[in-house]
């Protein structure tokens, strides 16, 4: 076993560390998916697990996402804790019927007799020059489904702690890993098996003038924007939503009570994105606190362009700064 504090860990390595930790401590944790075993995953998130935990616990599946989603459900009803990988979020859709109609419902349907402690992992988001369908961020589709948790880490430590929490959670979690920052930064991660709380936002930076709400890879640009704004004398609070469903509205509303201004940043297209729910919740819950409309900085309402134009689609630091300037001006 490695020493608790591991240096220079990327987000994807933290995912691997969390999987290894939990598999080492809980026999019921099983990893399955396409190319997860021998190959260690196309992003190497599951590398080494087959060697350490054997071919019965790390399973290469046939190429069938409905099957991956549904097999995990059957396993879960037998007390296993499957961590099922979709190779890219763009290939999760064939799994949706199983996830929506069964994983999210088994506990409710059977009044607690059976439940689904499953983690559905998928790398998501754009910006890595990938081919078509490899840049999806459709977290909103899952966030609208009762019975699911949707969790998005935005740093190596949070990837580690939130993934542990997701695996231990007795209900299904869609765990979306922002692949644009899979290897963007390295942090020291305490490999001590400690989970972080689900259903809770993380306030990454405190501030008084405006609340910046975001998650996933956009946390990077949002923090950069906060730095730039600080130079301009604007004090921005940065909140990483982390669990995009169910939503920790309390933390958001508390922040807005202080700042009175909100900019939401996400990569997914704007209409019907998770930002809409957050904006609606804040506009309803903090009506009297708001000094300016809640503004969203998001992807365009279109299909993620192929990579020559993907940068034109993605929200930029300057977009965030501009939006803040706009709400501050009011």
């Amino acid at each position: 076993m490695s020493s608790p504090e591991v240096r220079d860990v990327t987000l994807v390595e933290a995912v691997n560390m969390a999987l290894a930790w939990e598999m080492g401590h809980d026999e019921s944790v099983i990893v399955l998916g396409e190319d997860v075993a021998t190959n260690g995953g196309v992003f190497r998130a599951t590398v080494g697990l087959r060697d350490r935990f054997g071919y019965k616990r790390v399973l290469d599946t046939p190429l069938a996402e409905t099957l991956i989603a549904g097999t995990a459900i059957g396993m879960a009803t037998q007390g296993l804790k499957p961590v099922a990988e979709f190779q890219f979020m763009g290939f999760i859709y064939a799994g949706m019927e199983q996830i929506i109609s069964h994983a999210a419902r088994m506990r409710n349907r059977t009044r607690g007799r059976l439940h689904c402690p499953i983690v559905y992992r998928a790398p998501f988001g754009g910006g890595i020059h990938a081919p078509e369908h490899h840049s999806e961020s459709t977290e909103a589709l899952f966030a609208h489904i009762p019975g699911l948790r949707v969790v998005v880490p935005s740093s190596p430590q949070r990837a580690y702690g939130l993934l542990l929490a997701a695996i231990r959670n007795p209900d299904p979690v869609v765990f979306l890993e922002p692949k644009r920052i899979y290897r963007a930064v390295t942090h020291s991660v305490a490999n001590n098996g400690e989970a972080l709380p689900l259903d809770t936002c993380f306030t990454l930076r405190e501030g008084d003038d405006v609340t910046l709400v975001t998650w996933g890879a956009c946390v990077m640009e949002t923090l950069q924007a906060a730095d730039l704004l600080a130079e301009q004398g604007v004090s921005a609070e940065v909140i990483d939503v982390a669990t995009v469903s169910p939503l920790d509205r309390e933390t958001l509303l508390c922040s807005v009570a202080k700042t009175g201004r909100v900019v939401i940043v996400h990569e997914a297209c704007r209409s019907g994105g998770v930002g809409a729910e957050i904006a609606a919740s804040i506009a309803e819950g903090a009506f009297l606190d708001l000094q300016a409309p809640v503004v969203r900085v998001t992807g365009y309402d279109t299909i993620m362009p192929y990579y020559r134009n993907e940068q034109a689609y993605l929200p930029k630091v300057t977009d965030i700064v501009e939006a803040v300037e706009q709400v501050i001006a009011l």
Partner: protein, 359 residues
């Protein structure tokens, strides 16, 4: 240079339509007690079925799928499964559920619009009724995978209709069963119809069992109104599965004798003749004849059984009708292990309403 590879599926049938053996019967026929109790379960199932339809017609139950024509298959499944095995049903498996220990009241609650109808007390590992067609097949291979991962001598039976064999979930699952050598027996209940869609529209293949060939599993066809053919195939397949020899597919051929559900009117799309002909092959009557012919049954026993079934069903109906609906807050209480903070307000609102008496 041309090479040819051969494959096959076998079909079995032991009794003719009048219950006369066409051949030497399988070993299962000598377990008289089991045979008689199979018959008893078929009659109970049919009695229940008629009552459930009547309840629906009088507004006391929701849309209900009649099990008419499936009683033999379900009974054989229920008998061949060991308590430690896992049953993964679709929605027309009443006969098997009863043998697994699901109470008739639970079945009525389910179709009567109450989630407690799936909180089965006596077979806690069985999967609940699956409404989205064929989706349960993936669960079955998941359960079977868990069994294999833990090296247990248990097996899974998964039911699916002829319509269900067209859906990816079934097809992907049988492929996994073959690839991973899983202890799962798929029973394709070919009742010739998927609502109004006849078997011939469902697939261009002559039989549904031959889908087994494409995934490296043994495929077998049985007359699903022939108790001996059906129970023999199931016993064999389950033994094989429990012994680590892998899965299989059994196509049990029968006919849906009722409407698709109480919401359907089958006269729109099928002829009275076809139905009449199908009734002649009815498996309950056939087994009854067999029992009579072999001195194992008589009119008195039949009368007693009918009375017993009626009172069992009546008692269940009474218990069902006496069950108060759950509090509306239940719709949030079982969503997650505990109610998340974000839902507390909604829960309070529901609780307030259920006190207040909302119209």
């Amino acid at each position: 240079m041309r090479k040819s590879q051969e494959f096959h599926v076998d079909s079995t049938r032991y009794l003719d339509e009048l219950g006369k053996p066409l051949d030497d019967l399988p070993a299962q026929a000598s377990d008289i007690e089991r045979v008689v109790s199979a018959y008893r379960n078929m009659v109970l199932t049919r009695t229940f079925d008629a009552k459930a339809i009547a309840l629906q017609r009088t507004g006391k139950c929701g849309t209900y799928p009649s099990v008419l024509g499936h009683e033999v298959i379900g009974t054989a499944i229920g008998q061949s499964l060991a308590p430690s095995d896992v049953f993964v049903p679709y929605y027309r498996d009443q006969a098997a559920h009863i043998l697994r220990g699901v109470s008739l009241c639970e079945l009525l609650l389910y179709w009567g619009g109450d989630e407690r109808g799936s909180a089965w007390k006596h077979c806690p590992e069985d999967l609940p009724i699956a409404v989205p067609i064929a989706t349960q097949c993936c669960h079955a291979v998941g359960v079977a995978s868990a069994i294999r991962i833990r090296d247990e001598a248990r097996a899974v039976v998964c039911c699916v209709g002829d319509g269900g064999t067209s859906k990816g979930d079934f097809l992907e699952s049988i492929n996994l069963a073959g690839a991973w050598h899983l202890p799962v027996v798929f029973v394709v209940i070919n009742n010739q119809w998927a609502i109004s869609t006849p078997r011939s529209v469902q697939s261009g293949a002559d039989t549904l069992a031959q889908k087994a060939i494409g995934v490296g599993l043994p495929g077998h066809i049985v007359d699903g109104n022939d108790y001996f053919a059906t129970i023999e195939a199931l016993d064999t397949a389950l033994e094989r599965a429990r012994g680590g020899k892998g899965g299989s597919i059994i196509e049990a051929v029968t006919y849906r004798l009722g409407d698709h559900t109480t919401a359907d009117d089958a006269t729109r799309y099928r002829t009275a003749e076809a139905l009449k002909k199908a009734w002649e092959a009815d498996g309950i009557k056939r087994l009854q004849n067999y029992l009579h012919q072999n001195g194992l049954w008589d009119a008195n026993k039949e009368q007693a059984l009918q009375a017993e079934c009626k009172s069992t069903v009546d008692a269940a109906v009474e218990a069902y009708l006496a069950t108060e609906p759950e509090s509306p807050t239940a719709m949030l209480d079982y969503l997650f292990e505990s109610v998340p903070a974000s839902l507390q307000q909604q829960r309070e609102r529901l609780a307030g309403k259920s006190d207040g008496g909302e119209s």
